[in-house]
């Protein structure tokens, strides 16, 4: 039977939303889904090599940021990059950096981004993949 398909338009560059994306990717990996992730605008900032491990911005409930980050540690939650990496190891996950988003953050080549990223693409690739997806999410 053909694997189900998940597309994820990943806009957020904040660790709270990236962590949520990692949880969903874990679920997709458990079910052997084929996943296509399109890294848009602020998410491209988080995927830059110099930002991935140091970026600790949160998007929501920002006044509780310290409590949130401490809870992730207490619960042994993997860093979002590690959650994404585990999903890539367990199922077919392709991560595409939006070319425009990359340029916004001075990322012009795939080497400017962490090695989770597979390529730089245009929005047409996302539209094609999303049309064929069983689940399409925007985070």
């Amino acid at each position: 039977m053909e694997n189900k398909k998940l597309t994820l338009a990943l806009f957020s560059g904040s660790v709270d939303k990236l962590t949520a994306a990692g949880v969903i990717l874990g679920g997709a990996a458990a079910e052997d889904m084929d996943v296509e992730i399109f890294v848009l605008l602020q998410a491209a900032f988080a995927f830059k090599k110099e930002n991935a491990m140091t970026n600790d911005r949160v998007a929501e409930i920002t006044d509780k940021k310290d409590e949130f980050l401490a809870s992730l540690d207490r619960l042994n939650a993997p860093h979002w990059t590690e959650a994404f990496r585990m999903a890539k190891e367990m199922t077919n996950v392709n991560i595409h950096i939006c070319g425009f988003a990359g340029k916004v953050w001075n990322g012009y080549k795939i080497e400017d981004f962490i090695d989770l990223a597979d390529d730089i693409c245009g929005i047409g690739e996302y539209m094609t993949a999303a049309e064929e997806a069983d689940i399409n999410l925007f985070i």
Binding site: V23, G26, G27, A30, L75
Partner: protein, 83 residues
């Protein structure tokens, strides 16, 4: 299966995922079940409440038999027979 039957099972593999939160136990189960032959039994130890619902649903989708749950003091033991 009854609680007594579950407690009496000799498992072929035991996975301790008590140190992880969702989706950690589920992913640990997926990784480990690949090492089993069809018909072998695995237990997953989890302290994550959501996992008690996730693993039975995952088993149904992946054609494994979910045998049941034994509750211990601070964690659960979930028994799976590989399909």
């Amino acid at each position: 299966m009854t609680q007594d039957e579950l407690k009496a099972i000799t498992v072929d593999k035991s996975v301790d995922a008590r140190g992880t939160s969702c989706p950690g136990p589920l992913l640990a189960a997926k990784k480990a079940i690949g090492q089993l032959a069809s018909g072998e039994i695995m237990e997953v130890m989890s302290a994550d409440e959501g996992t008690k619902r996730d693993i039975p649903k995952w088993c149904a989708k992946k054609k494994h038999d979910f045998l049941g749950i034994v509750e211990e003091d601070s964690y659960s033991r979930l028994f799976i027979k590989k399909g």
